[in-house]
């Protein structure tokens, strides 16, 4: 019965989404107050219904109700409870339901927290949100019903891919989806603004917190996914330019650009049509990501559920949403007048440069992701675009971007003084020299890119600190004044500094770990010692162990630093029975200085075991950097101006009933 209740709740949610998508839109156009007032209620109702449906599916998983096809295919009674629950979204139907749940939660959040929005704008935003919901609810109900029954029910479920039985992966999709779907709010605001025909600083201020929140979630989601690949796949890599990774990276690049261009709209009332376009493109790339992953167009290790009929549905939906909004843009955007003018050398100019570089980088990733598909469509040739392409185009774009990030905040709005800005960055320039010196003489860097990365990291890190030091008049004013200034500096300013420091950490982490990583691959017998960078690994042997649903060969290593045992590490090869599959469990000791990483392969007592041992300096800074970036976003989100002092438009919108 529970599954049927869930199914009915989804059908009701679809009906409500239709109402929410149509009536308030007409109401806002004709000035029918009752219809306008319908939007928030419909959004809340939808959230309740979809949350109920999601609860029903979760219940079926928790109780291992194998009469539900989806549960029988993806769960197993022996699975730990955490993975029974994460199994809800570890498959196509369930992940789609999670997507919709997040969509309606964002819709409900706009309804609840959007109290300061003009009623017509709010109604239009929620309507667009409702229309997106119609598409996804129809998709799930007509092509991927998670509540289909299976008769007779099997005694045991078919398990879950053991690769996916992992805490990192259990929480990776929710964060990724919070990011993807969060951009739907920015999209809805953009479409609503195009319908209304006006974009002003107030609009930018309303849309910014939603974009920031989505961006923070997406940053965390991508970082979690990359971390999972690092410790679970056992290759020691952390980014593979895999189509599925790119699918999440493209909206991130576009969203980062959107975040920055929205500042220009808010502060200077210009760059409007570009910001609108970015909002549309960011969500479109999220949808494209869904299409690429779910349709089976691109083969990838990650695509665990693919079906061409679903692909057709998503493609049609993509065409309506993206084609429709871009057509609307082509009609209405020319009417958006820029008010603020600015010189190329100014804060606005720096932000335009940021947008330009991010947009080109995003286009390059899109090209690399779609090129194999295009070539296949035209000539039938099967190729894959490797990391060489992405590194070759991506790095030259990121270098000027990172260099400019330190300078941009130093420039004034409207007309900046580059010479003065550079003068204030003298400490950063000194830091670059120190970093290069360290790299050349202490660490013996022979690679141009390594030196470039070190220099950029130091430049941006110290540059960001310089900016905040100037603002609080560090050393140039009495300590008490500095403290006061620091206290009253807007949270958004701190957020920017912290996020930029995160970028610097990321750059340093990537550079140092790629350049100075030590990898040793060899066959070892018990008792032997391998020297890996500054540490030594002593191999103790391999013992068979038994887990709840697998058996494993577990290797044991002692790690010696300066001849002293500091740590034991136990990498393993697991062999699962349901379904039969082998996984590599790397042993990792993370630390801010250097990660130790050990993998044990096949072998036996006579010939020894094949092992891979690493010393990876600063590699954890990659994820710490992403974490710090997201924290900067949260700081900025908590800024006073988003909480109090509701922005008021010059012309008051028509008063609405029932609010």
């Amino acid at each position: 019965m529970i599954a049927e209740f869930g199914h009915i709740a989804l059908i009701l949610a679809l009906c409500l989404a239709l109402v929410q998508g149509i009536l308030p839109l007409i109401g806002a156009a004709r000035g029918i107050d009752n219809w306008i007032a319908l939007a928030p209620q419909a959004a809340l109702g939808q959230a309740v219904l979809v949350a109920f449906a999601f609860g029903c599916l979760t219940y079926a998983y928790v109780t291992s109700d194998f009469s539900v096809l989806n549960v029988a295919e993806n769960s197993h009674t022996l699975k730990p409870m955490l993975y029974k629950i994460s199994g809800v979204w570890g498959n196509h139907e369930g992940s789609l339901l999670l997507w919709i749940l997040i969509l309606v939660i964002f819709g409900a959040a706009v309804a609840v927290f959007g109290g300061n929005l003009p009623a017509t704008l709010k109604a239009r935003v929620l309507s667009v949100q409702g229309l997106i919901g119609v598409g996804f609810l129809a998709f799930i109900l007509f092509t991927s019903n998670p509540f289909s029954r299976l008769l007779p029910p099997p005694l045991e479920g078919r398990g879950l891919n053991p690769l996916l039985q992992d805490p990192g992966l259990a929480f990776h999709p929710p964060f990724l989806y919070l990011g993807y779907v969060g951009f739907s709010v920015a999209f809805s605001f953009a479409v609503a603004a195009l319908i209304e025909g006006r974009v002003d600083p107030a609009w930018a201020r309303w849309v910014r917190p939603w974009t920031l929140a989505a961006w923070c979630f997406l940053t965390l989601g991508i970082a979690l996914g990359s971390w999972w690949a690092y410790y679970e796949l056992g290759w020691g890599g952390w980014w593979f330019w895999d189509p599925v990774e790119n699918a999440s990276f493209m909206p991130w690049l576009a969203g980062t650009a959107l975040l920055h261009s929205a500042i220009v709209v808010e502060k200077r009332d210009t760059l409007k049509s570009w910001t609108i376009l970015l909002a549309i493109l960011t969500f479109s790339l999220s949808l494209l990501g869904t299409f690429l992953v779910r349709s089976g167009v691109i083969n990838s290790v990650h695509a665990f559920a693919t079906d061409p009929t679903r692909g057709v549905f998503i493609l049609v939906f993509l065409g309506i949403v993206v084609g429709g909004s871009l057509a609307l843009y082509a009609f209405r955007a020319p009417a958006l007048q820029a008010v603020g003018v600015f010189a190329p050398l100014s804060r606005e100019g720096a932000l335009v440069l940021n947008n330009l570089l991010l947009a080109v980088a995003c286009a390059a990733v899109l090209l690399g992701t779609l090129y194999p598909l295009a070539l296949d469509a035209i000539s039938g040739a099967k190729v894959s675009v490797g990391p060489q392409y992405f590194n070759a185009v991506f790095v030259p774009l990121m270098v000027p971007l990172v260099a400019a990030v330190a300078i941009g905040p130093m420039l004034a709005w409207k007309r900046g003084d580059l010479a003065a800005a550079l003068q204030r960055l003298v400490p950063a320039a000194i830091a670059v020299l120190v970093a290069l010196g360290l790299g050349l003489w202490l660490m013996d860097a022979r690679n141009f890119y390594s030196l470039l990365g070190l220099g950029l990291g130091a430049w941006l890190g110290i540059g960001a600190l310089c900016e905040v030091a100037l603002r609080v008049k560090l050393f140039s004013a009495p300590v008490s004044e500095t403290m006061n200034r620091a206290r009253f500096l807007p949270r958004a300013a701190w957020g920017m500094t912290v996020a930029h420091l995160g970028v610097a950490m990321l750059v340093l982490g990537i550079t140092v770990s790629e350049t100075w990583q030590v990898e040793v691959q060899q066959v070892m017998k018990p008792g032997e010692i391998a020297k890996v960078g500054p540490v030594e690994y002593r191999f103790l042997g391999v013992t068979p162990i038994k887990g709840p649903n697998y058996t494993a060969q577990q290797g044991r290593f002692e790690v010696l630093e300066a001849g002293r045992v500091v740590r034991e590490m136990r990498p393993a090869q697991r062999r699962y029975q349901q379904p039969p599959m082998e996984t590599t469990e790397a042993a990792i000791r993370p630390s801010p200085v250097a990660d130790l990483y050990a993998v044990v392969g096949e072998g036996d007592a006579q010939r020894g075991w094949a092992v891979r041992l690493y010393w990876k300096p600063l590699v954890s800074w990659i994820w710490l950097g992403a974490l710090v970036m997201a924290f900067g976003g949260v700081l900025s989100l908590s800024d006073r101006r988003h909480r109090v002092g509701a922005p008021v438009r010059r012309r008051q919108a028509a008063p609405s009933a029932a609010e």
Partner: protein, 184 residues
């Protein structure tokens, strides 16, 4: 100037067209590097309860043959099983089984219950021979000519259509010693 605002739409329509064409392509058609190459060197014992194992020499008898990679834990294998039995009844060419990463008792039970379409079987318990064959999923089906060269590789379960339009005509052409028009 106004036309500039149409650029995003036009670009998107082009991408959409490309994706639409992409959807019509078959992701299963993965070219194998082994087509036209001799089968790898291997020798496997028979699965539990059978007497004839499978080795490289068994595929170089002058007669074309079919090698089917299967496992008892593989659900699509169960789907294609009746078709393999039908192919055996045709008697055009022997069908051999490469049993991939399977439990000996399970596979014996499977063949006893569902019927045994295979002339010879090889038990590849650790999957080593499968790697040499370029197997990356079960089921996969290979057509081998009399000289022991791989002529065709089919990924995924066989269907009636595959048998009628690919496997059977190809085997007949190979038997008759004429160049085949069948595309793999």
């Amino acid at each position: 100037m106004r036309l500039a605002y149409l650029v995003p739409l036009v670009l998107f329509l082009l991408v959409g067209l490309g994706l639409a064409i992409g959807l019509t392509l078959n992701p299963r058609e993965i070219p194998s590097a082994l087509i036209g190459k001799p089968v790898p060197e291997f020798s496997l014992p028979p699965v539990q309860g059978r007497t004839l194992g499978l080795a490289t020499a068994d595929l170089k008898t002058g007669e074309p043959s079919v090698v089917n990679v299967f496992a008892s834990w593989c659900v699509p294998c169960r789907v294609e099983h009746p078709l393999l039995l039908a192919l055996k009844r045709d008697g055009i060419a022997p069908v051999h089984g490469l049993n991939y990463k399977d439990d000996p008792a399970d596979v014996a039970k499977w063949l006893d219950q569902l019927g045994d379409p295979f002339t010879r079987t090889g038990a590849d318990r650790n999957g080593r021979v499968g790697i040499d064959w370029g197997v990356y999923g079960v089921p996969e089906t290979f057509v081998v000519d009399g000289g022991g060269n791989i002529v065709c590789k089919h990924v995924g379960p066989l269907t009636d259509w595959d048998l009628d339009n690919k496997i059977r005509p190809l085997l007949r052409d190979l038997k008759a010693g004429q160049p085949s028009k069948v595309k793999c």
